[in-house]
Symmetry: C2
Subunit: 421 residues, 2 copies
């Protein structure tokens, strides 16, 4: 039984209990969300040591950190370091997007070290292992999903909504297809003159997913890669298909999340969230950023935090982090940390705005510590204690002062503690 099937049968599983506890909710709330589909609880029964979390409405906004090698940069040690850093700084889930080195081994090692939901994009391994596009058989796409599910992966991005009907809609785009999986599939379809196997054999995919309780993250292979392409016909065409596929998955007891942009100007984020909710019946919405400008190369984590905060406030449930290296190179450990922190800030700001019970308590504790000039507590409660501590230590501040205002501290002035200015 999948978590969804259990929920539909009225059963509360240990994973539901654990997820509920983490949110200070009754397990019944989690069960209801899973039955409705508004929550997902990615948890492959083969993933040893997983601490399950719920993703969707009514729970804390979650963030995902992408890791993985490239053919230019293959180091298991480095990837394990990125995983540890992502976890330390608060990533709720990680995805291994490796495309270089021994992929199965890297995945197994990362998975063994990973207590949070672990995702992949199985098509990458198809791409890496194929010597030509021509030789790739339709079955390969699904077999690879089964292969990785068997390894214990909790959720997979599958670009099932990229269909031949969408190809003519892509012609006028500024940046075409920017999803690697999406572009591989469009190339494959054009090369073979056939439909996307992940779409055509979707029932078989659902069987695989059901067998392992693999959560499908329906990928937005045609997501806009720039502001100019946002909310265009290709994106909407795919989103509607993802809505149909969501309902088909739910009918088979399979858990679903739906992926979204990408690049979106601030003023169309609300529309995008609403359309996803309408077309996909409030399945958890997993957004990549969204980036609110195309020009922030080197600082895309900030453009992504702006878009992510707004999207999550308006209803997105899962934020894929963006690192400062986005659009330029694979992230190093420092980039992973910067990306996780930026996403955490966005997710937490959205939790507060959504009125999630308890979310603003963290801020209240911090502000009370600030008022009391209690530096130790302020540092401990900071989103990134290490950096806060470093700033404090390099400030040459004495006692309860900070060097920002020195003897002109507003807090102290307000308290009338000063005798002599």
């Amino acid at each position: 039984m999948t978590q969804r099937e259990a929920a539909l049968a009225g059963k509360i599983t240990p994973a539901m209990k654990r997820a509920a506890k983490q949110e200070s909710l009754e397990p019944e709330v989690i069960r209801q969300g899973l039955a409705k589909g508004s929550l997902a609880l990615p948890c492959n029964r083969r993933h040893q040591g997983l601490k399950a979390i719920a993703i969707g409405s009514g729970v804390r906004v979650k963030i995902n950190a992408n890791l993985g090698t490239s053919p230019h940069d293959v180091s298991l040690e480095k990837e394990l370091g990125k995983l540890a850093a992502a976890l330390e700084y608060g990533a709720d889930a990680v995805m291994d997007l490796s495309t270089g080195g021994p992929l199965d081994l890297i995945r197994a090692k990362l998975l063994a070290d990973c207590p949070v939901p672990f995702g992949t994009v199985p098509i990458y391994q198809v791409m890496v292992e194929a010597s030509s596009l021509e030789e790739v058989k339709p079955d390969w796409f699904l077999d690879m999903v089964a292969h990785q599910a068997k390894q214990g992966v909790d959720f997979v991005t599958v670009h099932c909504g990229v269909t031949r009907a969408a190809l003519p809609l892509l012609k006028k785009r500024v940046t075409g297809v920017v999803s690697r999986g999406g572009s591989f599939l469009t190339a494959w379809m054009r090369c073979h003159g056939r439909e996307n196997p992940l779409f055509e054999q979707y029932d078989r995919l659902l069987e695989i997913a059901r067998q392992y309780d693999l959560t499908l993250s329906l990928g937005d292979g045609l997501r806009p890669g720039c502001l100019a392409d946002a909310t265009d016909r290709a994106q909407m065409h795919e989103l509607k298909i993802l809505g149909d596929l969501t309902r088909r998955a739910w009918a088979k007891g399979v858990q679903v999340m739906v992926e979204g942009p990408g690049h979106l100007p601030l003023h169309v984020i609300r529309k995008n969230v609403r359309l996803q909710q309408r077309y996909c019946d409030h399945a958890p919405f997993y957004v990549l950023g969204p980036l609110v400008t195309d020009v922030a190369s080197g600082y895309d984590h900030i453009a992504g935090a702006i878009g992510g905060a707004l999207a999550a406030w308006l209803g997105a449930s899962f934020l894929c982090y963006v690192t400062p290296a986005e659009h330029l190179k694979l992230p190093e450990i420092e980039d992973v940390i910067e990306g996780v922190i930026a996403s955490k800030i966005a997710a937490h700001a959205a939790d507060i705005a959504r009125g999630l019970p308890g979310a603003a308590e963290w801020d209240l504790s911090m502000s009370k510590a600030r008022r009391a000039l209690d530096w130790e507590t302020q540092i401990r409660l900071s989103i990134a204690p290490r950096k806060a501590k470093h700033y404090r230590e390099t400030s040459q501040a004495k006692d309860d002062q900070c060097t920002m205002c020195g003897r002109f501290c507003a807090m102290k002035l307000f308290d009338n503690k000063f005798d002599n200015l």
Copy 2:
């Protein structure tokens, strides 16, 4: 004649022409905005070499970078370095908030090097030069404004709206008064049992401002210092007074901006912007952040970029940057750079969302370069070319590849350029 008086008399000044050119607008549009009060054009007639810019509705969102010494850290060289960095990275205005060292000299040196509008908070110098609160005479506050205006300062933060009537409203606050000027004034009022001189002698202040065409930035001395205090009675009490003071300034031909929070949860930013517009008749709104969470110490520039982007999209016109050092220490040059870039991203995202003509063209050019795998142009068009270049150079990428996707580049796959994967 002040710029406002000229505008009301139907005259177009060289400063209006220059500001218009920078926005690709007709000078008449600037003149009308100045006459209406929806635009400010801070430009002290004594500021040599100033390149005037317009701040307000219908023009690009502007950003301000704060500089300045503290008693712990006095180095003119360092402040000049911060100024140069702020200008290099695109600050539209700067404020010298120095509280350490020879303040007049530091201000004169910075002003001489500053081609953008230059602001100060004159009350800081009153605080620094006073040996006790008791000895501070009411006239000192206004005399100091006159003194700095004479030096050529273009705009000053004056906390005219902090009045005795607000004091009882502050009792229940979590963080009390967090504005240094605001807390000094409340302390002064309590110590002397008198009304705020900047409020009581506002007509004299307007005369000083009119004489130099000094733009008044009506400070929010009672701004919330944490989410829990946001939009409370004290803040609203002050904002209403600032609305009255705005109209009184306009009636005397004086230019005005109105300052705003501070700390605001995402979901109350809209309300705050709307209230400012209503109470202050659409005078340019100058916000500090706003920070959408209290817990981002070490990363407050990101919390501020999220809030600033949303506030500016909804109508704020001027974003005071927040640096990663906020709440911990004075910013170093690297912090200034990070703060300016984060604010620039927020301002640009808002320009796009506001539909400012031409704003999205930058993004379109970037995306075309991205599509063409033209790395040189991408780096040149990045918000921070130096960092983008560094990432590109350390990526070990060859030719037109990037190491993010390597041979699995979506752009190339989509083009079907590959022969063999």
